[in-house]
Structure formats: structure tokens, C-alpha cells
């Protein structure tokens, strides 16, 4: 049994796949660099991320899959589901060992697991396209904070870049402590830490544009006005807007000043 340790990035994992084939390892388990429980394994192998090797694996996969099937591999990886790197490796082995495209062979477990994981990530990235709520600062930056279960920022970057081409914006993933930032030219990922008091209402009031609070209240008013009381259906409401997202949704945060 070999423990293959990589840097937890997608490229790192792809490099690992390349080297597992190259080194002809038989039994492998994956570990991300920070994990150190290694006593159980006879052998450890450190992978150094290599974009060339990563690319070769991707090219191999591309030839074996439809464009959707190909995209699903990355999506499944971003799901951050426990042991997804291993499931994906089994899936990749199956892909490379078959002469035909196996992505629709859903009665095969890894195929199904990967498809499900990709679906989860896809669903959440769709939700983030919906649930991002920008707030405007005094210096004309539209910023939003999100805390998705899956690492979806790479998947929604293009959508927001296309849509908000004439305003500076930042979407910050508070769980993973990085964001994507558009400066009117390019969108790049940025590492930042918010300090502890950055959430205090006083701080927010200081940095916000004068009209920001008014617009948030207008939106709350609108959300309230479009509801039809006689059709109330809480179950359906929660199914579409799960509670875990509420804390970053303006319309779900009561206006305390009122």
C-alpha cells in the first residue's frame, strides 16, 4: 500500500495520477499534504505538482469523454466530498482501461459516485450564481461573502465576469479564505483575511456607500410584497433556499434598525 501525498490542488491530483501510472503503484491511498497520519502505510510518495504531467492526464481524459463528462471530473473534485480523490482515481482507471466511453455506465459505482458529486457541485455553483448578494462600498467596489459547501468560485467566475463587466467586484469565500476579484479588466483569485471586527455593523456602516442600506431595505420590501400569504408553503421554500445559506442572504436577514 502506497500513500500518495499531493498538495490538495486539482493539478496536484492530476500529477499524482500520472505518477501512479508511471511508477506502476498497485495499491494507493491519497493524502493531502497537511495529513500526517502515516504510520499505517508501508510507503509514502510525495508528488510535486507538475503542470505538464497534469495536462497530459487531462488530454488523455478528454479523448475518452464527452465535453460534459470531462467537465464533470473537475466538478467532482471541487465537491470536496471525503475521499473523492480516490473515487476519481478508480473512475479514471476504469476510463483508461475501456475502449469505449464509459461515462454513462451509471450502474458502475465510481461512475455513479463521480456523477453525483459533479451534480452536487453543479447545483451549488448554480445556487451561488443566484445567492451572491453584492454590497456597494464607498470606493465603488461591489463585494459579496459566500460560504458554499463545495469549492465553486472557479466555476462561477466566468458567469460573473460576463455579467458585471462594468463594475469592480469581489466574491469572497469565507470558508476557504480566498476570493475572486474583477478589476474592470481581469478576474483573478486573491487571498485575504478579514479581521475580526470587519463584520461589526459600525465598520460596515463606515465603508458602505450612502445608498447601500436603502437598497437592501428596498429588496427586503420587495421580497415581502411578492409573497402571497394564502399560498404559503414552507417546505418548498426551504427546499429551494436551504437555511445554511441564509446568513449571507439580505432578504433573510431582518433589518434590525426598523
Amino acid at each position: 500500500m502506497t500513500q500518495v501525498i499531493y498538495d490538495s490542488t486539482f493539478e496536484g491530483w492530476l500529477t499524482a495520477v500520472f505518477e501512479i501510472y508511471e511508477q506502476k503503484f498497485e495499491d494507493v491511498v491519497f493524502a493531502k499534504s497537511e495529513v500526517s497520519n502515516t504510520l499505517l502505510f508501508s510507503e509514502r510518495y510525495f508528488v510535486e505538482t507538475d503542470l505538464q504531467k497534469a495536462k497530459r492526464v487531462l488530454n488523455g481524459l478528454k479523448q475518452k469523454l464527452s465535453s460534459e463528462g470531462f467537465a464533470n471530473i473537475y466538478k467532482a473534485f471541487l465537491s470536496e466530498i471525503d475521499k473523492m480523490d480516490e473515487t476519481l482515481f478508480q473512475y479514471v482507471k476504469y476510463i483508461f482501461s475501456s475502449a469505449i466511453n464509459v461515462e454513462d455506465d451509471l450502474s458502475n459505482s465510481p461512475v455513479l459516485e463521480v456523477r453525483k458529486a459533479a451534480y452536487l457541485t453543479g447545483r451549488e455553483s448554480h445556487r451561488m450564481k443566484a445567492f451572491v448578494r453584492f454590497k456597494l462600498t464607498k470606493d465603488n467596489l461591489y463585494y459579496a461573502i459566500v460560504e458554499p459547501d463545495c469549492d465553486v468560485l472557479p466555476l462561477i467566475e466566468k458567469h460573473f465576469t460576463n455579467r458585471y463587466a462594468d463594475q469592480r467586484w469581489l466574491i469572497y469565500d469565507a470558508k476557504r479564505k480566498y476570493g475572486i476579484y474583477y478589476d474592470l479588466e481581469n478576474t483573478t483569485s486573491v487571498q485575504l483575511e478579514f479581521n475580526a471586527n470587519s463584520n461589526s455593523s459600525q465598520f460596515l456602516a463606515e465603508i458602505s456607500d450612502d445608498n447601500e442600506e436603502f437598497f437592501q431595505n428596498l429588496w427586503r420590501q420587495f421580497f415581502k410584497s411578492v409573497n402571497i400569504e394564502s399560498r404559503k408553503n414552507t417546505k418548498l421554500h426551504l427546499q429551494h433556499m436551504p437555511k445554511r445559506y441564509w446568513k449571507n442572504l439580505t432578504e433573510k436577514i431582518p433589518n434590525l434598525k426598523k
Binding site: N108, K135, Y164, L218, F222, V226, I228
Partner: protein
């Protein structure tokens, strides 16, 4: 903007607009242009869901709830004693842009009561869209109500800037319309629909020849019928829908379960429950027409003018046509698989894809996410040979209803999973 006044107007004019149930913001082809604001080319996004579970995707408001007409089913009717308000052109523009920039919405759905006369009202609506497109370089989605009776010139201009246009027929038959909206005729609604259809077709043809032709209502037109305010049966309603789909190239027909808002004795009294189950069944039937290859006569007929309320229309059809079953999903055509209760469009496609790798068994169907407990009564598996118990349609219906959970008992809505 004068904050308090705008807040109050928003409360009044969003409230008055909410009975129009259309929420779609998809099917347009409008892309971001010259690094401006917005993009309407993707699939529509629901940015929030109301507490009744409906999608909120557009800033849906009336320009004004003043109206010279007196349609009994409408909150804005002339004789109704309510607070009236009207936005200015600039206010609607500022609200739309401010909401869109914050990612609250996909765009604007602007409707209006008839202020003074149709052209006067339509002219203002057009002015707003024009301003959004030309001055703000806004490329988000815009759904504009075409006011019946407005001039062709204004309708055409509306089409050049909006993504979708709609004229609501509201009442499924002329008789009901005469009863409840004495100022209106069906022909006033059909005429602008026909005009828009011709224009949409014309621009599309032109666009094929010359890609520089401007977009004209790229997301087509839609309409809405109020359900349960009057006596029509489902045969009349779905017959009307079918006419709109076939003759008017309508993209969507919406069904709005009547919410009692008036003590008028021509209408159901206040407190009558909204016919949500029936509304849901109509949406399901509508889906069968558009995505499942069903003909309207297969769903309702003279011998059976109303949809079953206790079961969905697809199951209803299957039970009336047991001779078409059982179906072997390993060999049957996609069209037939689509007709099996418990299997939806995506399920049917998954089956057709997965059966290339192996003969599918019941457990495989469950893995594919098929509602096997419903579909099993209609399925045949060649091997291993399984004896199908010969059940009558009444027995099957009982079995299914008994194993279904609350989904078919209490809370219904038009956005329940469809099959």
C-alpha cells in the same frame, strides 16, 4: 430618489404585480455588449424564492395601479378602493439597475394598469426599456407587458428592446371575459398576439439572412390564464393553451390559481382556497404537451373534461391505456419510455444512455434515480423472467396512492416536482 416615497410605491406596485405568475427569465439570446452591464443569454436564474415557494427572478412591478378598466378579478380595477401609486420613468430605471448590480435579479418584468389610454401607458413602458438599453447599456432580461389596444408602432418598438412580451388572455373563454371584464374582448388580446407573432417570425427570418438585424423579443411571447375564478373545465383551458402553442408560437402559457380578492358576487368569495392542486395538474398537463410528445386529446376529452386531482395526468393516461404496457426499458423507444409514470425526461435519457452498457434491472433503475415504486407497475423485464401480476387500473391507482407520501395529500404548488 426620495427614499420613503419610493419605498411605499415599491410596496404597493410589487404587491399589485404579484398575481402575474410568469417568472421565466430564460430563452433570450441577448449577450453582454461593449463591456456594459448584464447578460440575458444564459438560463434564467431564480435569485430567491418566496415563502410560498415561487421563483423570484425579475423585479416584477407595475408602472402604476391606476386603471380606467374594471376587471372584476383584478386588484387594480377602477372600482376597488385601494391606495394608488405610479413610478416615474427614472425611478423604475434606478431600481432595476440598483437591484441588478447587487445580483438580486435577472432583470425587469414591467406591467401596468391602463393609465388614461393604452397608448399613453405603452409609451411610458417603452420609454423605460429604451432608457435602460440605450442610456444604461443594460443587457439583462426585460419582460414587458403589451397593453391591449396600444398602437402597432409602439408594440414594435417594445419588441426591439424587450426580451419577452406578453398579453394576458386572463379568461379562458369569451363568455367569462364578458362576465368579468365588460370593457374587454378576446379579440383585443388575440390581435396584439398575432401581430407579435408575425413580427417575431419576420425578424427571425431576416436575422438568418443578415446577422446585423436587431433582436426582436428574442425570448418570444407568453400569456396567462386565471384558473378557478370562472366555470371553465380543463378541456376548455388546455384547448386554449394548445391553440396558443400551435397558432401563436407561444413560449409559455401560465396558469394562475385565482386568489379571492373581492366580494363581487360573480366571483368565489374571499376565503375560498386557491385551487393549487388543480393549478399544479394543469402545469403537469402543459408539460406533457410541450416535452413529452402528448397530444391534448390524450390528456382531456369530451368524455373526461377535467384532470384527475388525486393523480397526475401522466399516470391518468397510463391507467386509461394499460394495453400499451408493460414496456421493456431495455428495448423500447425513447418516446414510449417518456410515457411511463415515474420516469421524467432526464430519467428517460439516462436509461437510454445506460442501457448501452448492460441490460438494466430494477436496481439499476433505482440507481438512476427513477421513481421505481411508481413505474414498476408499467415495466417489463425480459430476464430474469418476472411474472407481472395482472392488476386492474383501479388496483394500481390504489397501490400508488397508498405508497405515496404526503406529496399527494397536502401541500401542492405549481413548482412541485412534476412527475
Amino acid at each position: 430618489m426620495v427614499h420613503e416615497r419610493v419605498m411605499e410605491k415599491l410596496a404597493i406596485l410589487a404587491d399589485a404585480a404579484k398575481y402575474d405568475v410568469s417568472c421565466s427569465s430564460s430563452n433570450s439570446t441577448r449577450k453582454n455588449k461593449n463591456k456594459g452591464l448584464g447578460d440575458a443569454s444564459g438560463n434564467g436564474i431564480c435569485h430567491a424564492y418566496t415563502e410560498d415557494g415561487r421563483c423570484v427572478s425579475l423585479l416584477k412591478i407595475l408602472l402604476t395601479n391606476h386603471c380606467i378598466f374594471d376587471c372584476a378579478y383584478c386588484v387594480s380595477r377602477k372600482s376597488n378602493d385601494i391606495k394608488r401609486a405610479a413610478f416615474t420613468v427614472q425611478e423604475v430605471v434606478d431600481l432595476t439597475i440598483g437591484f441588478y448590480r447587487r445580483n438580486y435579479i435577472e432583470g425587469l418584468f414591467l406591467s401596468s394598469g391602463i393609465f388614461d389610454n393604452p397608448d399613453y401607458t405603452m409609451e411610458r413602458l417603452v420609454r423605460i426599456v429604451k432608457k435602460l438599453r440605450l442610456e444604461e447599456n443594460f443587457n439583462g432580461y426585460i419582460h414587458l407587458k403589451a397593453i391591449p389596444g396600444a398602437s402597432a408602432e409602439l408594440l414594435r418598438e417594445a419588441g426591439l428592446y424587450a426580451d419577452r412580451l406578453s398579453v394576458n388572455v386572463e379568461m379562458p373563454t369569451e363568455k367569462s371575459l364578458k362576465l368579468l371584464a365588460p370593457d374587454k374582448n378576446h379579440i383585443d388580446v388575440i390581435k396584439p398576439m398575432e401581430f407579435l407573432k408575425e413580427e417575431i417570425v419576420g425578424y427571425n427570418e431576416e436575422k438568418k439572412k443578415n446577422y446585423k438585424t436587431p433582436l426582436f423579443a428574442p425570448a418570444g411571447q407568453s400569456t396567462q390564464m386565471v384558473i378557478g375564478a370562472t366555470q371553465e373545465n380543463d378541456l376548455e383551458i388546455l384547448g386554449m393553451s394548445n391553440y396558443f402553442y400551435e397558432k401563436m408560437n407561444m413560449r409559455r402559457v401560465y396558469y394562475s390559481g385565482y386568489v379571492p380578492i373581492s366580494y363581487d358576487n360573480r366571483l368565489p368569495v374571499i376565503g375560498t382556497p386557491v385551487p393549487m392542486i388543480r393549478e399544479n395538474r394543469l402545469y403537469q398537463a402543459d408539460w406533457l404537451l410541450r416535452f413529452y410528445g402528448f397530444n391534448v386529446n390524450e390528456i382531456v376529452g369530451f368524455d373526461q373534461p377535467n384532470l384527475d386531482l388525486d393523480i397526475d395526468p401522466k399516470l391518468g393516461w397510463a391507467l386509461r391505456n394499460l394495453d400499451k404496457f408493460p414496456v421493456d426499458v431495455n428495448t423500447a423507444d425513447l418516446e414510449l419510455i417518456l410515457r411511463i409514470p415515474g420516469i421524467g425526461v432526464s430519467g428517460a435519457h439516462k436509461i437510454v444512455a445506460a442501457r448501452k452498457f448492460k441490460r438494466l434491472q430494477p436496481e439499476d433503475l433505482q440507481k438512476l434515480g427513477i421513481a421505481y415504486s411508481r413505474s414498476k407497475y408499467f415495466l417489463a423485464f425480459a430476464s430474469p423472467f418476472q411474472l407481472q401480476r395482472d392488476l386492474t387500473s383501479i388496483q394500481i391507482k390504489d397501490h400508488i396512492l397508498n405508497t405515496q407520501n404526503s406529496k399527494y395529500k397536502n401541500d401542492f404548488s405549481n413548482q412541485l416536482s412534476l412527475f
